[in-house]
Assembly symmetry: C2
Homo-oligomer: 248 residues x 2
DNA sequence: CAGTGGTCTAGACCACCGT
DNA sequence: CGGTGGTCTAGACCACTGT
């Protein structure tokens, strides 16, 4: 009843194949992202919302919980639901990690240095495949405003070896994998710092005293099938890895 | 009905204040962790489980979904529920990131170099506090087998300034914060690589050519209240940051 | 006390999968 | 086709909060 209570207008399409809870969650998320509901504002309670929208309480609960999981809402028993502080929003990790480092306002480009099938026992072992499995090896140079930023080495299992050089020059690796039916992945990633090798020094056009950030990543789909193994090297001057962590 | 189907024995206590879905989830998790159910094994379907345990289907669903979120189970419509490959288990992030780098089989210790209240505009700004807010500044040296591994600089807001030097010498910072009622946090963390400063070189006993990993972290509780600001520096020889990422 | 979110039930119908 | 998980409903009772 408070005058500042956020009541979000919602339009539901019961004929759509998109679940009602998801339609609702998306529209609530948009309302918070757009600033229609400000941090700290009390949110409409779930009983009122279910009556207003003609939905059952569990369905509304499910949508609200979706936003709580993303850190957009905070709920407290006996008190109500509130729009969370912006500082606790979990940024959608989508793109930020797999599209590699943020290139702030610069003109990015990618050049494919290598694209061929090879046998690489180390990459194969990381992907849980036989040592002599043929993998598609891809080496790309990532540039911003023509300046080299990163060397990206990736190995793909036979299932994804159909990706062409031309495709890689135009789109990101994960966008292409998504086209091949890779929905979600779980990746184990390791971040280390070291000095560059001679080859890396030349490709990245840096001195031997500037450290690089070395990232090794192995990704699997939910069933455990291998998706990719990556060994990326980034210039460390001015670039950092940003993460949002949760500790429960 | 398959002979390899995993049917986990479960004991529920309806008198307990612990929710039934949570009791069930914990016992299912334990069964997988213990190896009673192996990766790839079909799991009991939810209708059968709800009848066997005398629970409603939504309650069983909630427990199973809990395990799916952790990557322990995989569900496929029309097929069933299966124990996931070990490679997609999301490691409980608990401890692994806040207790800092893994110290594999070595004898770890921490020495408190500094413990005093100060005014630090940069840390205060990161925590969203006034520039002249008094913060508890803590500097610790992390050692393994007597060899220095990391310098950990932390700043705590007034709410947590009661932490003593003695407490820090015996327990981790996050264990102490938990005692002060800090349940969960959301942290923004940045990882960079650079060469050490003179002070860092001496404290870590390294040459000026060995890079360090510099981690900056700011943590807030779910309501948006600041919990800590950290600036940690790690030796890069032999130590890496391991993460489990999800991309949906 | 009234209002909130947290849990739980007993059904229903649908979409997808392999046979 | 039968079996699976995915969605949705309409209630119920409890635990916690601030007044």
């Amino acid at each position: 009843m408070s005058s500042t209570e956020a009541v979000v207008p919602v339009a539901l399409d019961r004929a759509s194949p998109i679940p009602l809870y998801f339609q609702l969650a998306e529209q609530l998320t948009a309302a918070i992202s757009d600033g229609q509901a400000q941090p700290g504002d009390p949110f409409e309670n779930e009983v009122a919302m279910s009556e207003r929208l003609g939905l059952s309480r569990p369905t509304v609960r499910r949508a609200i919980h979706h936003l709580v999981d993303q850190g957009l809402l905070v709920r407290r028993r006996g008190l109500g639901t509130f729009v969370a502080s912006r500082r606790v929003h979990r940024r959608a990790s989508k793109g930020s990690l797999y599209e590699d480092l943020a290139i702030q306002g610069r003109d990015p480009s990618t050049s494919v240095l290598r694209h061929e099938v090879e046998i690489n026992p180390r990459a194969a072992a990381s992907l849980d495949l036989d040592k002599d499995t043929e993998l598609l090896a891809v080496v790309r140079l990532r540039l911003a405003d023509g300046e080299p930023l990163a060397i990206m080495r990736n190995w793909l299992p036979p299932r994804h070896s159909g990706i062409t050089r031309e495709q890689l020059e135009q789109r990101g690796l994960y966008a292409l994998l998504r086209d091949q039916g890779v929905g979600s992945v779980v990746a184990h990633q390791s971040i280390a710092a070291r000095l560059p090798t001679v080859e890396e020094r030349e490709l990245l056009d840096i001195s031997s005293r500037l450290p690089v950030i070395a990232v090794t990543r192995t990704a699997f789909d939910p069933s455990g099938a291998p998706v990719e193994h990556a060994e990326h090297v980034y210039r460390s001057d001015g670039y950092t890895f940003d993460l949002v962590l949760e500790e429960s």
